[in-house]
Symmetry: C2
Subunit: 383 residues, 2 copies
């Protein structure tokens, strides 16, 4: 009797979330097949057209799913997919929707999409493997320059908390419209560092991922603004405030973590707008960073009237390079719309004889490339 | 000319995410109106029926949205909503989907739904207010008993890192199928603690939110299993392993944080299965916790054969209460399906003369209630 009551309670506990949500028929989507083709499924008996969009599709525009007699639509990729973190959405009679059978969603600025991962090769760095894991913290700090409390994401490598050692720090900056969540979600920064460190390919380091939009306290939904509709059209993103206030972040980290408080223990890198920030911050404060990474950087000219930070760039670069930074790294994709600006910048560096390492990848302005650049850049740091 | 190039680049940077995602017409949903009615909108010109489900609906079953001439469907709540964190989904021609205009999604076991928050009254505790914020960390620890590396979520109160003081610890346990993310997402534990501490109503404390499913290393998507379809049907959740291995967690926290290493500095509380765990752990280790909270606890009998932890409960309770715990707190909703089990348990405590505080709320087995219980319980701790 007691046993029966117990079983009933356990069953009810287990089924509660099912019952509450009216869950659809149990189907698996996406299913990664043994040959790395992928099958997507959607139970939509009433739909007249179901399509899929995703960064793995090689065709122009969305691909059609085929309806089965059970009302379940299906699409199988025509060929195996290469190892990578991919994203997708469904279009049901023209309406974009997430896959209800895939709970793994990532927000990128104002869009949410499903993700899946094909392991192997470099993409094994993006997986959570059975290695020692660092700690990921969301922490608030005061910026005296901006007179604001602001949120950042901090990765401390495995062993940091139990050690007494001092660690070097990589400051890792996001792109326009993104925020302090970008590198940890789409960028897989914690996984890349966990894995590279475990393989002995990167030194254990702290990674600091601040919010580069000085008009924001924090990522959408994580600030006192509550839940609002995010936009990439933020004020004050590229007018000098982020660059001028950056020492606030370095000071906070140096006084709150066991860091190597020296230029040789600091790196700065960023993607797109974050590359623009890294470019300016590293020359504005030439004694702060010995390692600089520009990932698909928005190297823009004609900003001199917006901030003193953007003035006298050539003189500042001269000072920066006279101090022999240990690494100046530039990476961009062949089809990136910022390619020309980077080409012109490399030409300038070549003319001046300033040393840098250049990495050119396929494709364009994509998280896929920024994960690659981070996994190339991190092993070169602090050696 | 340079300015024009710059503008073009900035525009392209800003529009990139739009272009990539083929975003729908710009509409606001949900819109919280000044009187706290809420309007939901979905741009679905091809749909024949659009409905909404949500925990704020007072009617049986989903409510219909009305189609406007522009193809945008709309539903306005018939009355203002009370302050609360709510969830909802759309049903488009019978197919459940998230609101594409609301990027705020929370996963609960195997379901993902949209959320919104109406502030005011107690729900102001669930908001991110302009107060000092604690740090939220995801950290891995080794469990010698389970021989596994496992992930937990840890809240350290504002000021912890810059102080040399020792802090008390609340161990806060989740329910069946949930994991170390539950209390921080749906439970709003960081916001509740930030706000109660800022108001002087709760003592600054560390909150430790472990994963109570000993078959898991971590929440779905956060372990070496990668992205798989989660289920609430997990093995080994209520057979003694979590309870027996709990000192591993306490030892890890006591050796890695500046804690008050004494019974008077430790509380344990949990919801549903986590209440079941708290009940057993606190009597199994009667010298560990001076504060115990059972939130909608699964007080089940007839488990004696599953583990020595579940044997001799009355004798263990006698020992526990002989040591005069400072607080034994029981809370449940009037319509909770576990109400009878809790009633029987209170009767037993009454018969034995064991002191406890009882809090009875409206409604049932809901996160809404668990947020209330946490905000009632935390102010009573460590005083």
């Amino acid at each position: 009797m007691k046993k029966l009551f117990l079983l009933a309670v356990l069953l009810q506990l287990s089924l509660l979330s099912f019952a509450q949500q009216g869950r659809a028929k149990e189907i698996i989507s996406p299913e990664i097949n043994p040959d790395n083709t992928v099958t997507f499924r959607l139970n939509a008996p009433n739909a007249t057209k179901v399509q899929i969009t995703g960064d793995f599709l090689t065709t122009q525009g969305p691909s059609d799913l085929t309806k089965g007699s059970d009302g379940i639509w299906e699409f199988k990729t025509p060929a195996p997919l290469k190892p990578e973190l991919y994203n997708y959405s469904f279009l049901v009679d023209g309406l974009k929707m997430n896959d209800p059978n895939n709970v793994y969603l990532i927000r990128d600025v104002a869009n949410v999409f499903n993700v899946f991962l094909i392991g192997g090769d470099r993409a094994d760095l993006y997986k959570i493997n059975k290695v020692a894991h660092g700690t990921v913290s969301r922490r608030w700090y005061e910026s005296p320059t901006l007179k604001m409390a602001r949120r950042m994401t901090i990765y401390t490598p495995a062993g940091y908390e139990s050690s007494k050692k001092r660690y070097p720090v990589l400051y890792l900056l996001h792109g326009m419209g993104n925020d302090e969540e970008g590198w940890i979600t789409l960028g897989r920064a914690a996984q890349i560092l966990d894995n590279l460190i475990a393989q002995g390919k990167a030194k254990p380091m702290i990674v600091v991922m601040p919010n580069g939009n000085v008009a924001q306290e924090a990522a959408p939904g994580e600030s006192s603004l509550g839940y609002y509709k995010p936009t990439s059209q933020l004020p004050k993103t590229m007018e000098g405030s982020m660059e001028k206030s950056f020492p606030d972040i370095v000071n906070f980290i140096d006084s709150n973590y066991r860091t190597i408080k020296a230029k040789s223990g600091r790196a700065i890198a960023g993607l797109s707008m974050g590359g623009f920030h890294s470019y300016h911050i590293s020359k504005e404060y030439p004694d702060l960073f010995d390692y600089v990474g520009l990932f698909s950087a928005a190297i823009l000219s004609g900003r001199e009237n917006d901030s003193p930070v953007y003035q006298d760039s050539e003189a500042k670069l001269k000072t920066q390079f006279a101090k022999n930074p240990k690494l100046y790294y530039i990476a961009i994709g062949k089809t990136d719309f910022l390619y020309k600006g980077n080409e012109a910048y490399r030409k300038l560096l070549d003319e001046k004889g300033y040393k840098y390492i250049y990495y050119e990848s396929e494709e364009g302005h994509l998280w896929k490339n920024w994960r690659i650049y981070l996994s190339e850049f991190a092993p070169m740091l602090f050696k």
